[in-house]
Structure formats: C-alpha cells, structure tokens
Amino acid sequence: MIIKVISIIVLPLIALIIGFFFLGLSRKVIARIHRRYGPPISQPLIDVIKLINQESISHGKLFDMGVILSLAGSVILVLFIPFGGIAPLATSGDLLVIIYLMLLAPLGVALSGGEAANPNVSIGISRKMMLALGYEVPFLFSLLAVMTWYKTTSLVEVVKAQQSFLWAIFYLPLPAVAYFMILPAMLGIRPFDIVSAPQEIASGTAVEYGGRYLALTTIQHAFHIFIDIALFVNLFLGGGNLLTFFVKMLVVFLLGLFINAVFPRLRIDQAIKYCWKWPAILALVGLIIARII
C-alpha cells in the first residue's frame, strides 16, 4: 500500500523530469541539425519558471478551469501507463480507459480557449479536432491489432506477454510502423504543428495564454510527450526495467526528431489525407493479419 502511494507520487515527477528533458533535448537537437548552437537543455524549465512568475490575463472561470482540467487529465494518465514495471493504477483502468483519458487534455484546452472568444483559438480547436480524427484512425487500428493479438485489453498483460517472449514489434511490424508514423501528429510537432501554427493562427489555442496558463500548458506538453512515447514503448517494444525503458523512449524520441526536424508544416487537409492513407492502410493490414492468425 505504502509502495503504491509512493509510486503514485513519484511517477508523475519522473514523467515530468523526463518530459522536460525531452523538450530541452528536442530544442538542442533541432538546433544542431540547423547548425546552430542551441539553448541549454534546461531552457524549457527556465521558460516555465519565468512564466509562473509572470502576470497574465484571464477571460473567466472556465478559462482557468479548462487549463487545470487539461493538466490534471495528463497527470493521472501517467499513473495508468506502466513505466518500467511500475503502474500504480493499472488495475483500475485498461487500454480502453487510457484511450478515453487521453481526451481530457484536449477537452480542457478547448473549453478554456473557447471562453477566450478569439477566432484564432476556435480555428486552432477545429484543427485539433480534425487532426485528431485523422490520426485516431491508424492509432485505433494499431491498438486494436495489439489487443487482438494478445487477446487482452490490459496494458500490463501486454507488457508481460512481451517480456516472456519476443517484442510485439516483431509480430506486428506494420501497426508499429503506423503508430510511429503518426507519433508527430499526436505530439503536435512538425510537420503536424498545424494546431499551434504560430505564423498562421498565432499559436492557435494558446493565443490568449500568458504567464501561468502557458506554464501549465508547457508542463502538460511535457507530460504528453512522455505519455505518447511510453505507450509506444509499452505496446511494441516490450517495456523493460526503469533504465531500459528510458533508453527505449530516448531512441524512439530521437528517431522521430531526426525525421521531423527537417520537414515543413503540412496543411490540415494534407495531414488528414496523409493519416488516412499510408499509416491507416499499414495499420489495417496489420490488424487483418492479427485477426486471422
């Protein structure tokens, strides 16, 4: 019981540290790819400290509550995803719960931005929704392929089955590739940073955010990076202990970063069509294979 409580407290902190490390790393790595020197790895942390100490504006109660809901939703999601064998709440919710809990973060941001009454926010939300509709198709196909293959909806069971045998990526390479292809869309980074395109719609949902609102959104983004990559590692790369899990996450993240640092931004309709084409086809074929065998 005590171990459980401690892990409930510690796990979000680990996730936060890893998330911030990844955020800083991505800025540094992208800078190096651009042949720049880049900021220090702690730069996202500096930004958040600044933002917390900066004043901001609020448009109303919902404006505050939405941001809080968004971050809280991301924090609890961490507790359901096994991280190196630690999953304090895995018995309270399976993959289906995880899929649904992933809703809370965008819902919170959308509600909060909606009260700001800035059309840029509305455009950002509508783009987020459409992009989500785009990437959910291959995402669900890949998740269903894994669940059908292992005949379980529990993420812990999936990880356990992989540890005693080969990783799922060897049985289900196509869904894994499809998941990897839509990972930038889920993270909202280039070439899929359509939602927060600063040059087009003035950073979309975050247009009215400043100060603590932006700080919470940045923290939420750090959690979000952790969650999406940890889910990939759990589903296809067989989990692992604390160290190997982290190394696997790092590898996946860097691979994604190398590919995506050099791409320009897609338009929203191009992004939807892309998601519904190759990733969806690959994941669907993978699902059919998993269903038949």
Binding site: E55, G60, A72, Y100, L107, S122, W276
Partner: protein, 618 residues
C-alpha cells in the same frame, strides 16, 4: 392491481389534465406535473416485484389482455416515467406561448401512458394496442407546431405504420400457429419451432422495432421528426420513445426466442446476431459522421440519437453477458444525456426566440451559465468522457467486442465516438463559447422550472458515471430473467475477472491531481480579469461581436468526407414515393371522387353477388 393502478392513473390523469385545462391554465399545469410525478412514484414503488395480472378476457378469439412486471419492464418503465416527468416540468415555461396547450399536455401524458402500457403488457395483443396508441399520439405531437412539422409527422407515421404492419403480420402468424399471444407461453412453445420460422419472426419484428429504434436504412424519419417537434417532446422522443424499439428487441430476442435458439440461426459467421451487429456498426458510423455536417442544433442531436442507438444494437447483438448489459445500460445512459441535450437546446430556443442555427449563436456562457454546465455534462455523457455515465456502457461494449475477437466492429464503435466528439464539441462551442453577438446581449438564464430538469439530469450523468453499480444491479436481474449468465458487478466498476475498471480510483486521483494543479495555479503570479473583447487581434481593436469563428467549423474535413455521407437511403425512399405516385394515378381513375361512380360500383358489385348466388344456387 398495482400495474392496473399505474395505467389507470396515467391514462385517466391525461384526461383529467385536459378537462381542467378547459377551466384554468394554472390548475392544468399543476395537475399535469402531479400526474406525471404520481406515475414516477408508483413505478418506483413497484421496484423488485414480480407481478402478473389478467385485466380483461376477450369474449372471442380465446385471448386475454394481461400485464406483467419484471426487471426488464421495470427498468424501461422507470426511464419512461422519469423522463416524462422531467419533460412535463420543462414544458411549463417552454410551451406557455403556444396554441392548444391543453391538447399538448394531454398528448404528452397519453404517449407516456402508452409507453408504460407497452413495457408492462404481458401479451402481444395488448402490446400491439399500446404500441399503436403511442405511435399515433407521437404523430400528433410531432406535427404539433404545424408548418414543416406536418411533413415530418407524416414521414414518421408512414414509416411507423409500415413497421407496425410487419409486426402485426408476425403477431397474426404467431396466433395462427400457436393460438396464444402470451409472452411466457410463446417463449416455451417457440423452443421447438423450426429455425426458418424463427428467422421469419425475427425479421418481421426487426423491421417493426427497427423503424422505432431507427437502425440504419429505417432511420430516415428520425432527423426530421426530432428537429421539428417541440423540444420537451424531442427529449421524450430521443430518450425513451425511440428506445421502445430497443425494448422490443430485447423482448423478442432474449425474453421470447432466447439465446440458445439465436445461436442456431445461421451458418458460421453469417448468423443473425453477427448481421445485427454489423447493422448496428453501420448505424453508428454513418449517422454520427452525418451529424458532423449539420448546422441545425436539433438535427445534429437527432443524428446522434440514431448513432447512439447503434451502440445499443451492437451491444445486444454480441449476445455476451457483458455486451447485453452494455447495450441495456447504454439505453439508460443515452436517455439521460439525450433528453438533457434536447432540454438545453430547448432552453436556448426559449431565450433566443427559437434560434436553432448553430452559426448564429455564440458566447451564451456569460448569460446562461447553468444551461452551459448542463450542456457540458450532456456532451461529456454523450462522448463518454471518463466519470460520466456513457463511459461505462461504451467500455463494456468495446471490451466485449475485443474479447470476442471482433476488432472491426470495435473499430466502428471507436471511430463513431470520434465522430461524436467532433460534432458535439461544435454544438457546445457554437452555442456557448466564442463571442456573444450583440443581439443576445440581454438574454437571461432560463426560469427555475426549466433549470431543475437540467440540473437533475446532469447529476444523474455524474452519479451513474461514478456508481455504475446502481443500474447494473437491475441489469443483472434482467439478464438472469433472459437466462444469460448474469453480470457480476461491483459498485464502482467491474470486478477483476471481467476487466480493469475502477471509477472511484480514477475519481480520487483526478481530484488529487486537480487539487495539486490548482495549488500550483493559484500560487503562481496572479492574472488580471479582462473583458471578452480585449483580444489579441494583431495590434488592432476589433469591436464586439465581429470576431467570431463558427460557421463551417470543420470545413477541411467536410470536403474530404462530405461527399461520402449523402443520405442515399432517404433518396431511395423519395424515389420510391415518386414512382408509386405515378402508379397511384391508375387507382385514382377508379376512385373518381364522384358519388355517382361509387353508386355505380355498389350496384355492379351487388349484381355480381346476385349472379354468383344464383350461379351457385343453380
């Protein structure tokens, strides 16, 4: 006796309300509320009882009309009575300025009574009588507003009559074969019937109930009817009246035919249940994505009514203990969410003068906060955000689909949820969020009698979302009566052997996380409250009301998926109507409308009779 009391109170009450309306409007309103409340209490008191009564024996045909109460009928009866009561309460202010209010209350109570009759009847004859009462009452209520509503009502009644006739056909054949129409005796008699006959029966009943439950290809009446009816009745329509079809499915499939017979129908994958599942899946996907294209708030919700019906059909189609429970639970959950959302639309209509166009509204959160919270609860429930009610029922349906190895059906259900998210978010955003147009500056919150139903239903959404054990207890009783292995449940979710779901833990960590985040939030530098029109606009100042984005909300997605979502079924029916019109021209030449011609026909017919008689006589 108890059941007869319930029916007598509800039918007689309707009449009394109509009569008192002749004298005083106020007395009529109060008595309508009291009658519907009395029905709720009477039904509530009948919980956990098993009753069977014969209330009338027909002097011919060797049939008797009888009533019964079991878990299944109690479950539906309490939904009917509850939603009926709340919509009457909601009507008090809403309907005030309409014509013929007395008639409206009478019909509302009458339709409610009809539905109670349906769920309480114990034989197909009384079932059919109450079914027709409900259908025709509904027709009158849909057309209540006049204008476009008349066409919508006509569309409804034509499809409904077609469905009822299919059902009548099956009922007559049952009587012809077995000489009885009692559910309990039929259930035992049908066990030795041939699979072909069972399939015929099921097909006829599926058509009959499918029209009501609006499964795909029989759904076209529903969007028009829901959009054109008055909002409190739309709530009844979507929440309970349409779900009478669901009751019918459960009755015929599990209560009468039974699970063991159902499994024998078909070869391999091509069996009755699997096809029903696929119909359910199509009913989910196409209507929810059609809802994405709607700009009329009620029409949008109406398409969701069809789509959510698909989840129920999918759930009971899988025919596992978990699936049936999920399907039945979703009936309750959708009744709560759907009714609530129609109340919200009704509240908006009431205050803005009947505006339903989503592109014209906006920013009403500042003026109608209670309605906004109700709307938020409603859409969360419809989506199935964790800790709201539909989450549990959808979880059960997904879980059983995956465990039974139907990943493609599960995918249809999942992607339907995403269609739901997109369109209901647009619904909420365009009505309540964004900038407040100048013309709605003085809009006020709705009166208390309209707030109470919305608040109660919002609370129900949260309550059933955290404590799904309450309805699931009744549902496992229903499953026991079906002869299905009953679902073992706990108060806060599912026991370990079924799956990992514990809502109280999710609630607890969400609360703790929320408090921690709130502490961080409130300890950081304060924010300044600014007016809504103090917006970033690239250094410009945009005056109030001119800075809104809501029309064509998902334009890029429409362009991709829009062309595939044309309602071909509706087109087909209209084509059929057009074709049959020309063939009816021939009939019209016989029925000229001239008295002389008819007299001639009578004369000719009599002569024919005389000739026949004479011919036989000779």
């Amino acid at each position: 006796m108890q059941l007869i009391t319930i029916l007598v109170v509800s039918f007689l009450g309707a009449g009394i309300v109509y009569l008192t309306g002749k004298f005083s409007g106020r007395v009529r309103d109060i008595s309508a509320v009291l009658v519907s409340l009395a029905v709720v209490i009477l039904v509530g008191l009948a919980y956990n009882q098993k009753i069977y009564t014969n209330f009338y024996s027909l002097p011919f045909l060797n049939l008797s009309l009888s009533l019964r109460l079991n878990y299944l009928s109690w479950f539906f009866a309490i939904i009917v009575a509850g939603i009926g009561f709340l919509s009457i309460l909601f009507s008090l202010e809403y309907i005030k300025d309409y014509q013929g209010v007395g008639f409206y209350y009478f019909m509302m109570l009458f339709v409610n009574a009809g539905m109670l009759g349906i769920v309480l009847s114990a034989d197909f004859l009384s079932f059919y009588i109450f079914w027709e009462m409900m259908s025709w009452g509904t027709y009158l209520l849909i057309s209540y507003k006049g204008g476009k509503a008349v066409a919508a009502g006509l569309k409804y009644i034509i499809m409904s009559v077609a469905g009822s006739l299919a059902m009548l056909f099956a009922i007559v054949s049952l009587y012809a074969s077995y000489g009885t129409l009692k559910f309990s005796s039929l259930a035992s008699l049908l066990q030795i019937a041939s699979p072909g006959y069972i399939l015929f029966l099921l097909l006829m009943f599926v058509v009959g109930f499918g029209v009501k439950n609006a499964i795909w290809t029989l759904h076209t009446w529903l969007p028009d009817a829901h959009a054109e009816a008055v909002s409190p009745f739309s709530a009844v329509l979507t929440g309970v009246l349409v779900r009478m079809g669901m009751y019918g499915f459960l009755l015929i499939m599990y209560s009468i035919v039974g699970l063991s017979l159902l499994h024998k129908l078909g070869y391999g994958l091509l069996n009755f249940n699997y096809i029903l599942c696929w119909i359910g899946a199509i009913t989910i996907v196409i209507p929810t994505f059609t809802a994405l294209l709607q700009n009329d708030s009620k029409r949008l919700l109406a398409w969701h009514g069809i789509g959510q019906g698909g989840y129920m059909v999918l759930g009971i189609g899988v025919a596992t203990s978990l699936g049936i429970a999920g399907g039945i639970l979703h009936t309750l959950n959708y009744a709560v969410c759907g009714a609530l959302l129609f109340f919200v639309v009704g509240a908006i209509e009431h205050r803005t003068g009947g505006v339903r166009d989503l592109n014209e509204l906006g920013g009403l959160i500042k003026r109608m906060p209670v309605t906004f919270i109700a709307g938020l609860a409603g859409i969360s429930g419809l989506i199935g955000v964790p800790l709201t009610n539909s989450f549990v029922s959808k979880w059960m349906i997904y879980k059983t689909l995956i465990m039974e190895n139907y990943p493609f059906l599960a995918f249809a259900a999942f992607i339907g949820t995403w269609g739901t998210i997109l369109s209901v978010y647009k619904f909420l955003h365009n009505i309540f969020l964004g900038q407040l147009p100048e013309k709605y500056k003085d809009v006020k919150e709705v009166p208390l009698t309209m707030q109470i139903p919305m608040i109660l239903l919002s609370l129900a959404i949260i309550l059933f979302g955290i404590l799904p054990g309450i309805p699931l207890k009744v549902i496992s009783g229903i499953e026991k009566s079906f002869g299905v292995e009953p679902l073992s449940t706990t108060m806060f979710g599912m026991p370990k052997e079924i799956g990992e779901l514990n809502l109280i833990n999710i609630l607890a960590v969400l609360l703790v996380a929320g408090i921690v985040v709130y502490l961080i939030f409130s300890l950081s530098a304060k924010s300044r409250r600014v007016n809504q029109d103090d917006n970033y606009a690239a250094g410009l100042f945009v005056p109030r009301g001119k800075y809104q984005y809501s029309a064509r909300f998902y334009d890029q997605a429409y362009r991709i998926i829009g062309p595939y979502l044309h309602d071909v079924v509706d087109d087909f029916y209209y084509w059929l109507v057009g074709k049959s019109k020309s063939s009816f021209q021939i009939v019209r030449q016989i029925y000229t409308g001239n008295i002389n011609t008819y007299a001639l026909y009578i004369l000719l017919f009599l002569t024919l009779l005389i000739f026949v008689k004479l011919g036989w006589g000779l």
